[in-house]
């Protein structure tokens, strides 16, 4: 039986690529070890929620009211209060970064409260991190108002504020950042394998001259491309499956959509990432430059501009416009809805279409630019 030359060539290329992947520890590390590391880091280490924030309470004149106020802070999960007898001590603590903010109760706090006069408190927040400062401000207000409420009930004094907002949070009731960080990480992981690893290994073929030798064989450009893409596609999907398993079973992220939609959308995104990786290496033909460009053009945007860490809606209009050319953005939107909400077709279909378009564009352009010529 004679195998057709085309099949023979493709088989040869696929076998070569697979052997290289299996023998190169760095490929396997990027595909499997790095995703696990990132998942563990983001799942356990990084949290965008503020909890157990050290805060200084300046009590100039101890009193029953002041003690009850301190108790309110002690009960809150958000704060670890520390007491200071004077404003000077409180300020010093803030300056030394021992606390992230101070709350000052004046010496006449108890009298003013009893005397039905205004009993203002002073809140000083460290603004070195604007985000945490705003969170802290909100939390302090929350503790303050609920304490006031309880005081008012205890003394049967009507509260000046009558409206009480009742807030319900959908999709992520505990507001656990892990629930949206972990699905977002899948995007980062697939970008690593799809774009960065592929750009590096293909640029390496240019650098080592292996491609020049390949080109002077009857092999066609399509065969070279498929021989390169297929193994890395399998590798990328393998990393994806591993990450999903970790997300569901280790981090107990909910999965409210269907798995087949996840598989289809991952395929589309991986193809777009592979296309970008190929394009970068075809244009640069140099491992170092290809690596730098892949990091700048795919990996960092997947982190910063995809809506994975930072909400796209709160970016400046220009940056929002730029996010439209970041493939990761569409995939993050799909993943967050699949994991946290379900198969929301009005959301999934347009984003999947954008991914398909980008995959077709990058792969098509790579095919056009890669010729069996060295010019």
């Amino acid at each position: 039986m004679r195998t057709r030359p085309r099949t023979l060539r493709l088989r040869g290329l696929l076998r070569k690529e697979s052997l290289q992947i299996l023998r190169d520890p760095s490929s396997l590390a990027i595909a499997f070890v790095l995703p696990v590391f990132l998942l563990l880091l983001f799942g356990y280490g990084v949290s965008l929620d503020s909890k157990h924030v050290p805060i200084g309470l300046v009590i100039e004149q101890p009193s029953a009211e002041a003690a009850s106020f301190v108790g309110a802070f002690r009960q809150s999960v958000y704060f670890v209060p520390r007491l200071y007898p004077s404003l000077q001590d409180g300020r010093a603590a803030l300056r030394n970064h021992d606390v992230n903010g101070i709350v000052v109760l004046d010496g006449d706090f108890a009298q003013r409260l009893k005397g039905d006069r205004d009993a203002p408190i002073q809140v000083v927040v460290s603004g070195t991190d604007a985000n945490s400062a705003r969170l802290l401000e909100g939390y302090v207000q929350g503790v303050w108002s609920s304490w006031l409420q309880r005081e008012a009930q205890a003394r049967r004094i009507p509260l000046p504020v009558a409206v009480e907002p009742v807030i319900r949070i959908w999709f992520n009731p505990e507001l656990a950042s892990r629930n949206y960080l972990v699905p977002g990480l899948l995007v980062v992981n697939m970008t690593l394998v799809g774009a960065l690893l592929t750009a590096l290994v293909f640029a390496r073929e240019w650098e080592r001259g292996t491609l020049e030798a390949l080109m002077v064989t009857p092999v066609t450009i399509e065969e070279i491309l498929i021989g390169k893409l297929l193994p890395y596609f399998v590798l990328g999907m393998g990393g994806m499956v591993l990450s999903v398993i970790m997300a569901l079973f280790l981090f107990e992220v909910p999965m409210r959509g269907s798995f087949w939609v996840l598989a289809v959308c991952s395929t589309l995104f991986l193809l777009a990432a592979l296309g970008m990786g190929l394009l970068i290496s075809i244009v640069t033909r140099n491992q170092f430059v290809a690596g730098m460009i892949a990091i700048l053009a795919t990996f960092l945007p997947a982190f910063l501009l995809s809506g994975f860490l930072f909400d796209i809606g709160s970016m400046p209009p220009l940056v929002q416009a730029i996010t439209h050319i970041v493939a990761a953005r569409y995939f993050v939107a799909i993943l967050q809805s699949l994991f946290l909400a379900g198969d929301i077709w009005t959301l999934i279909l347009p984003n999947a279409a954008a991914l398909a378009l980008m995959a077709a564009f990058f792969l098509g352009l790579s095919r056009r630019l890669l010729r069996k010529r060295l010019e």
Binding site: R11, G12, D24, G209, T210, M215, V216, P218, R373
Partner: protein
Amino acid sequence: MPVCPLRALDVHKSFSAGARSLCALDGVSLELRPGVVTGLIGPDGAGKTTFMRLAAGLLVPDAGRIQVLGLDASADSLAVQSRIGYMPQRFGLYEDLSVRENLDLYADLQGVSVAERPARHERLMEMTGLGPFGTRLAGQLSGGMKQKLGLACTLVNPPHLLLLDEPTVGVDPVSRRELWAIVDRLVAEEGMSLLLSTAYLDEAQRCADVVLIHQGRVIDQGPPARFSAPLRGRTFHVTGAPDGRRRLQARLAARPGVLDAVLQGDAVRVVMAEGIQPAADASEESVRWEPVEPRFADGFVALLSQGRDRIALPEIAAVSRASGDAIVTEGLTRRFGDFVAVDRLSVAVHAGEVFGLLGANGAGKTTTFRMLCGLLPPSEGRARVAGVDLRHAPAEARARIGYMSQRFSLYTNLSATQNLDFFARAYGLRGARARDRVAWALDAFGLAQLAGAESGSLPLGYKQRLAMAAALMHEPDILFLDEPTSGVDPLARREFWSRINALAEGGVTVLVTTHFMEEAEYCDRLAVMAAGEVLALGTPAEIKARAATPEVPRPDLEQAFITLIEAHA
């Protein structure tokens, strides 16, 4: 009548690099005879690789046509590529695949049917001697074995035409001889046509036809004898000068009517211009002129030197200012992990000597250099350079040495003057002294006219002069030259060596690495290295004498090298 394997008609090709356009081929026409080896011979930058790539259909000519086996190489490139074998200069072996897996890949790509494979494999393994290494990873093969595996990969489907781009560069002489044996068998047993490019002029003699290419043009083509025959009766060995061979060579080279004068062992090899009698003005009685057979290289140099200006050579200083040993090493060893790059090197290099390290790529030459320059600490052993122990005062030793590395290591976007200024300052020269030295360098190396040009745009020969000038800014006692002449044409190489000679006569100790046998002859003494070990140490004549056998009573340096390696193994 068989089809002509390769025919080129007025082929032009230029490349644009930024704003500049570089003409690689300027109207090349040539024709290959079927069933023989044709050598494409010329220095680096002559256009050999460009021509090979055009023939393989990897580049498209700007003008002109290349026909390969009757097909147009650029229009029908896929058809051409399934009929030819092409081995690029650095054959892209997959280093993390084994010998067998590399061969299988190329068998798959070339469409060799599964039934034909075992017989073909066996034949290739037998031909290349790679049989015992089938499961070894290609990355763990020696340089010579890699070349042979690359060659085997292009042969899995016997091609009608085989293009080999500098297959022997940087390969040790034993592997080089084995590669040639394979090439000869392919021609004899399979009737293959070969085009083989090389920068080694001595390989021309092994080709049936030679195409001489220089600066993108074919200078001449024909059997190798055609190049050397006209020189019959014009080539001589000159010996017996009372003041040493080097001064004799300098005098001879300056004499009108002498086309070429190079050192060869104890003698000076001289090529006379047509119709000029050598002995006519030989004023010294002791000097003997002995006629010798012309070689291909003589013909090449004679051809090139026509119409080229005589190079102004530096004066040789009258006094020698050095004595004693400039470099002494004892048991110098360098290991990288398990790999021993240099194994117990013990040599003493005398002041004012030109000392050569001869060996293939990977023999340990560059590692030795780096240790002696204080750039790499030795794993074991001691080295004294210019009287200073490297372990205690590497910086002090470095102030007294100059180093010129294998690659052009100056700033390509600075001018020659700016580079020289920088190096003067880096060596701590200031004020009037720095100005004097820069002026000296521009003058002595003939760089004055090009002083303002960006050094990256200079021709290779000028870059080399500039690099050497930079290494000499602080008047070092010892000069290290790491493969200084790779890539320059034979004339530029001669000029370069005349400068080295002048320096040595002036008392500077010169250490030079090379893999050109011809260049090794220029050295006073040599250390022949292989796999980190010194196989032999002595003058070129001593080393040749040591390797003399009843079969080869007067070996040349390459034969001597091969005998030494085989005796060692």
